[in-house]
């Protein structure tokens, strides 16, 4: 077997092996049990003291939502402030980059706030070091923390309202608040700020530090100096941008943010210097998304459920990954026809230090999770790999973004539980709670939202082009051009942030349309699972009997996969046929 394939298999196995203990650790953090990182507690208490937050006050799901949305709004203003005042950043802006225009600042702030990181600027020329640190890197931490905290709330809500036998599972007792009406009790689901802060200080921060150090040792800059001037072998002088890059790159990957320090992201030689850093970064992309699944298993003390979810996700992931790697390694027949050697696979738009396998592998990893950092040009992917990258974002739940990946998957579980519950002749229940009309309504709205945003967006763009082909932002008026438009909207709706590129996307049309998609597709998919979990947590717990459908079995896994395949993929079939599939059938 060739080393390129061994390399990517190693990355996968290593991530799973790391995710198992990490999942255990995350579960302990969210359950409030003691861990080695408790030395951070005084610092956390200081934060809470300054901000006047009582981190022990438990919240209902609505209070969680309120906290989440309020704090996000605050960060938006903070980001706007920094981006629009860059010219005054002084020592932290050694290259003297200008302030952003209000519309670009708006776009950038929203895009980082929703964990998407579509970048309509280039880091080297568009941001001060203060912005890179206090805006970009800061948001990359806290938005990842937001997703994880929301996920933790759902974990909490999923706990069976039944006391576990001594010594099993987590012993955190349930808390109840006063509900409407006399004596009504509402299950409380922990404190949002507590989950949020601990996600940042106990999980994201320690791993980021280790990773940033590894990157720095491999040549990624971590300093506050301005551009370096070098003379190349050709004798030309070149300006090389530097700055606090290693810190940002670590969290960009770990927090499935994807926004690069430099314009060309992880294809940049300083952002991703060698095959080793490529491995570290690529692994960081899907380490926490997988660890969150194992965390669920530990937190609920039902590892089988976690393995079932992991199994479905992994199967779906492999269905995308294997064709992508295969087609990239097989080379592009259209280029082969020109007599260009394709022994190393399709190398158009790829970095020679990573090779075709690792680039294809990264492309799928970055799209199935909502990361969006790139180490190769996605526009140059062969049609089938492009289709797989698109599908990964269309499903957006095979591992998915930190925290939010599981939340998306949760919606599919609810739908699968509902249909399969009916099929076995019992009112559907998930973890002992009945799934009824209101939960289905919420789940249906969310499953509708994704195709709605992607298809209507693409339809709008197609319509504009069909009416006026001279509009200028589409360079490939072909099936490939269609893929580019489809990709841009899919990436926005999946909060991914990667681009097919080749599209002149810095125009009012793209800025506005993708901006709307970004906001809708970030918050609604967080609100929905929270609402469902919150509603379910209040319901009466029904212990499993012989007639109950177990959700931690292979059969149920097949069911969930079928639901994902049919619900998430079928809606996009015509679009895929007109884009990558048409291109595929023409080239091959």
């Amino acid at each position: 077997m060739n080393t390129e394939i061994l390399g990517i298999i190693f990355m996968f196995v290593a991530v799973v092996l790391l995710a198992i203990p990490l999942g255990k650790y995350i579960a302990r953090i969210y359950a409030g049990e003691s861990t080695w990182s408790d030395f951070m507690q005084p610092l956390e208490n200081l934060f809470f003291k300054i901000s006047g937050i009582d981190a022990r006050k438990e919240m209902t799901w609505k209070e969680h939502l309120l906290a989440l949305l309020t704090i996000n709004l605050l960060w938006f203003f903070w980001a706007m402030l920094l981006l629009m005042t860059q010219e005054f950043h002084g020592a932290l802006n050694p290259d003297g980059n200008p302030s952003m225009s209000p519309d670009l600042a708006f776009n950038t702030a929203i895009s980082f706030l929703v964990n998407c990181n579509l970048q309509h600027y280039s880091g080297e020329t568009g941001l001060s070091y203060l912005s890179q640190l206090a805006c970009m890197t800061f948001l990359q931490f806290v938005t990842a923390g937001t997703g994880m905290a929301a996920c933790a709330v759902v974990f909490n809500a999923m706990r069976p309202t039944q006391t576990l036998p001594q010594g099993e599972g987590l012993k955190t007792p349930f808390s109840y608040g006063e509900g409407e009406g006399v004596g009504a009790k509402i299950r409380l689901l922990g404190n949002f700020f507590n989950y949020f802060l601990k996600s940042c200080t106990r999980i994201l921060l320690p791993i980021s530090i280790v990773m940033a150090v590894l990157l720095a040792f491999n040549g990624t800059p971590m300093n506050f100096e301005g551009k370096a001037e070098i003379t190349t072998l050709e004798g030309i002088t070149q300006q090389i941008s530097r700055g606090p890059a290693a810190a940002m790159i670590a969290i960009k990957q770990l927090g499935t943010n994807g926004g690069g320090y430099f314009g060309v992201n992880s294809a940049h030689p300083l952002e991703n210097p060698n095959y080793f850093t490529n491995m570290v970064e690529c692994m960081a992309i899907f380490l926490i998304p997988i660890a969150m699944i194992f965390a669920l298993g530990n937190y609920l003390n039902s590892k089988k459920l976690a393995y079932t979810i992991f199994g479905v996700m992994t199967f779906g992931y492999l269905c995308l990954q294997i064709p992508a790697v295969y087609y990239e390694m097989s080379g592009n027949p259209a280029i082969a026809q020109m007599g260009i050697n394709q022994d190393f696979g399709s190398m158009e738009g790829k970095e020679i230090r990573f090779g075709s396998a690792a680039s294809a592998y990264w492309a799928i990893n970055t799209t199935v999770t909502s990361n969006g950092s790139v180490n190769a040009m996605h526009d140059s992917l062969t049609p089938m790999s492009g289709a797989m990258a698109l599908l990964g974002m269309m499903v957006n739940a095979f591992y998915g973004g930190v925290g939010v990946g599981f939340l998306n998957f949760y919606i599919f579980i609810i739908l699968a539980v509902f249909i399969s519950g009916l099929m076995v002749g019992r009112t559907p229940e998930f973890l002992g709670k009945k799934i009824e009309a209101s939960e289905i309504k919420i789940a249906v709205i969310i499953t509708l939202l994704h195709p709605f945003l992607i298809l209507t967006g693409t339809a709008l763009a197609s319509f504009v082009i069909a009416n006026d082909p001279s509009v200028g932002w589409l360079n490939n008026p072909s099936f490939h051009g269609f893929s580019e438009m489809l990709y841009e909207f899919t990436s926005s709706a999946a909060n991914n942030g990667s681009g097919f590129e080749g599209l002149g996307d810095n125009t009012p049309f793209w800025n506005i349309s993708t901006g709307i998609v970004l906001i809708l597709s970030r918050y609604l998919p967080i609100i929905a699972p929270l609402a469902i979990a919150g509603l379910l947590a209040r319901k009466k717990y029904i212990p499993a009997g012989a007639g109950t459908l177990q959700t931690d079995t292979l059969t149920f896994a097949v069911m969930v996969f079928a639901v994902i395949a049919i619900v998430a993929a079928l809606a996009f079939f015509p679009a895929l046929v007109l884009g990558p599939l048409a291109e595929y059938f023409i080239i091959y």
């Binding site: 519950g421 019992r426 009824e436 197609s462 069909a466 099936f479 029904i542």
Partner: protein, 701 residues
């Protein structure tokens, strides 16, 4: 109280089954008359106001209307861009048929329910009622004029005009019109057998009855309205499924609308016919068309099992039942205990003892007493005994003495009773009570039997052993329930030792011994607190609170009005094991919905592969590779897909109405089974069907 009515029930056990079998036999789906009525209804239901209730089919109706407009447009303008006139007409006809098929499914289910209801309604056509006025005079009015709390009189040979409660008198009543059971039943004022049903006939004597329901609100009225679909409210589960289906419909609306600009971009023209065909094929028309038929058929199946339900929700809940409370007597055991053995003591000869036992039971009207004579029948000389009882004095059973018996002319005093009472009698007379007897009594008790001790002149002569006879086949039924995930609980007035023995022998999971009415209530509450759903059957007024507390309460038709009011269902057959059938009907209802939804959505895969290549193949010839069914032409592909989509609805009507078979094999195994049949089948069948139709269609094109 609970045991009184079971006397009749046992005899009915066999009859009921016969009745159900009979009903199942004339169950053929498309009786001519029904089909005609349903066909008429299919057209009436095209009214958009009615169609609107079914979001999936309503969108199909809009599509059909658009196709009609297109046809008119082509016919007038001669425009060839939309395909030939004939092709458009065919698409229109197929869509129109799709609508009719869906309406027919609902109409046939309703017609079947209606036919069933009509036969019930016949019993309550206008009958004259003898209204008893406040001053005691009697006025003849029509039954329809009877109001709640009115009092009427019914005499021999007359029909009872309304549901009510007997306040005076006793009568034998023929309830065959309701239950199909020919043996008359006795109803009397007071107690648990005081309730009468409208439409039944008084065979002897006369009774005064107080009306207990408002006109049009009796159980039968409610049930008739339910099966006719008029007042049928969607169950929570059905609502959830409707939302899901509406969601799917919306997704495919988005898919089809966005396809238009996509096609513009790809410089392909897609005809309106193709758009609408794609849309109609993708939305879940199969389940959308059959959904209400499934619901109505579920109620209908309950009615066919002779169970009247107050709501569709109750049937669905029945499918979720975790715990089932059953009375021992009449359900698990055959009616009452039967004498099975005579044990003699103190040197009494066996023949003498049997004679004494028979004499003591001579005037005993209880089933136990009768069973003693039954057992002894072949071992005694009736004539001799007949002579002995002449002018004998019979002692009735009283709660104080807790024994009964006879004082014969020649001075012999025979007493029969529970151990304590006879022991008391003997010891008061100064006679020893032998250990031997005590041992035997204990032995009988521990075997689940009931000992009756017999004394002659205050000396113990023997013990009669009574045994409960467990119904044949009951153990298998409980086993089936266990596999369904339902825990069975036996409720009995017996002592714990006897109860345990019978529980073990019959295979129930738990029992409540020496049960008082509040014990049932407490047991139900306890289970409910653990999140379980509990069903119980009852008949007496003192069962009413527990029936109301239970998630599914089934009252016997012979039970009191209070019991009926408190429950969600009434069993016309008074058959305590009917709950098993109800649970299965509930499960079938959900399963039929689930499997047909899965089937409907799985069909989309094949339909996509039929239609999507057809849409673009002219612009992008390379897409021929996606035409994996090798369909003849784009037109034939689209036509085949819509035709398949249309005809699958009538093909599945029998399944929708009969329900998917429930097998108690555990949830996971059931899911695998249904996933393979309806999921995988749903993917494969349309590939075959569409290909076959295409071969046929292309033959004509």
């Amino acid at each position: 109280m609970c045991f009184a009515f079971h006397v009749k029930t046992n005899e009915k056990w066999a009859n009921t089954n016969l009745l159900i079998k009979k009903m199942k036999n004339d169950n053929s789906l498309f009786q001519k008359q029904l089909a005609q009525e349903a066909l008429k209804q299919s057209f009436i239901k095209l009214n958009p106001k009615i169609m609107f209730r079914n979001s999936v089919m309503f969108t199909v109706e809009i599509g059909t209307v658009v196709m009609l407009l297109i046809i008119i447009y082509i016919a007038i303008s001669g425009d060839k861009n939309q395909g030939s006139l004939a092709y458009n007409i065919v698409v229109f006809i197929v869509l129109f048929l799709t609508l009719l098929f869906a309406n027919f499914a609902e109409a046939i289910a309703e017609a079947r329910g209606k036919a069933q209801a009509d036969s019930l309604r016949k019993t309550r056509e206008e009958t004259p009622a003898n209204l008893v006025l406040a001053n005691g005079t009697i006025q003849q009015i029509s039954s329809a004029q009877l109001k709640k709390d009115d009092i009427f009189l019914v005499r021999t040979g007359e029909l009872i005009p309304s549901d009510g409660e007997i306040i005076e008198g006793i009568a034998t009543i023929d309830e065959s019109a309701i239950t199909g059971e020919s043996a008359p039943v006795i109803r009397e004022a007071g107690g648990d057998r005081s309730s009468v049903t409208g439409g039944t006939k008084v065979l002897s004597d006369k009774i005064k009855v107080m009306v207990t329901v408002q006109p049009g609100e009796s159980f039968l009225d409610k049930m008739i309205a339910l099966v006719e679909g008029a007042s049928r409210q969607k169950t929570p589960n059905e609502i959830a499924l409707t939302i899901l289906l509406a969601g799917f419909t919306l997704v495919f609306i988005i898919v089809c609308i966005t396809l238009y600009p996509f096609a513009l971009y790809a410089k392909t023209t897609i005809t309106v016919a193709a758009f609408i065909s794609l849309f109609v094929c993708l939305i879940p028309t199969t389940i959308g068309g059959l959904l209400s038929a499934i619901g109505i058929a579920g109620m209908d199946r309950a009615l066919r099992a002779n169970v009247i339900t107050k709501s569709g929700r109750a049937v669905e809940t029945a499918g979720d039942i975790d715990v089932l409370l059953l009375d021992k007597t009449g359900t698990i055991t055959i009616g009452n205990r039967k004498a099975t053995n005579f044990h003699t003591f103190n040197g009494t000869s066996r023949q003498d003892f049997i004679n004494s036992a028979v004499l003591s039971s001579w005037d005993d009207e209880t089933p136990e007493g009768k069973s003693i004579i039954e057992l002894a029948k072949n071992q005694i000389d009736m004539q001799l005994l007949n002579k002995q009882v002449e002018s004998a004095k019979f002692i009735k059973f009283t709660a104080e003495t807790r024994s009964s018996g006879v004082d014969l002319k020649q001075g012999k005093r025979i007493r029969k009773g529970a151990l304590d009472s006879i022991k008391d009698i003997c010891q008061k007379a100064g006679n020893a009570f032998p250990e031997e007897v005590m041992d035997r009594v204990k032995q009988i008790s521990s075997n689940g039997g009931t000992p009756l001790v017999v004394s002659e002149n205050e000396v113990v002569v023997g013990v009669i052993e009574l045994q409960d006879i467990i119904k044949t086949g009951i153990k298998e039924r409980f086993e089936r329930l266990r596999k369904m995930g339902v825990k069975t609980v036996m409720v009995t007035g017996d002592n714990p030792m006897t109860a345990k023995y019978i529980a073990e022998k019959s295979g129930v999971d738990d029992f409540i011994a020496e049960a008082k009415p509040e014990d049932k209530m407490n047991y139900i509450k306890k289970e409910q607190q653990q999140g379980k759903l509990v069903a119980m059957m009852g008949d007496g007024t003192n069962d009413a609170p527990a029936l109301a507390q239970a998630d599914v309460g089934v009252a016997m038709n012979s039970g009191t009005q209070a019991a009926k009011e408190a429950s969600n269902m009434v069993d016309l057959d008074n058959d305590p094991t009917k709950l098993i059938e109800i649970v299965e009907i509930g499960k079938q209802l959900l399963m039929t919905r689930g499997t047909l939804t899965t089937f409907s959505i799985a069909n989309d895969v094949a339909k996509y592969f039929a239609i999507v290549p057809a849409l673009f193949i002219n612009a992008i010839p390379a897409l021929q590779a996606l035409n994996i069914m090798q369909l003849a032409s784009p037109e034939s592909a689209i036509l085949s897909a819509v035709i398949f989509n249309a005809i699958i609805i009538p093909m599945l009507i029998p399944l929708a109405i009969k329900g998917v078979a429930y097998k108690p094999i555990g949830a996971s195994a059931l899911l695998i089974r249904n996933l393979v049949i309806y999921g995988l089948g749903g993917v494969i069948v349309p590939f075959i069907g569409i290909k076959a139709i295409d071969m046929l269609v292309s033959f004509f094109m």
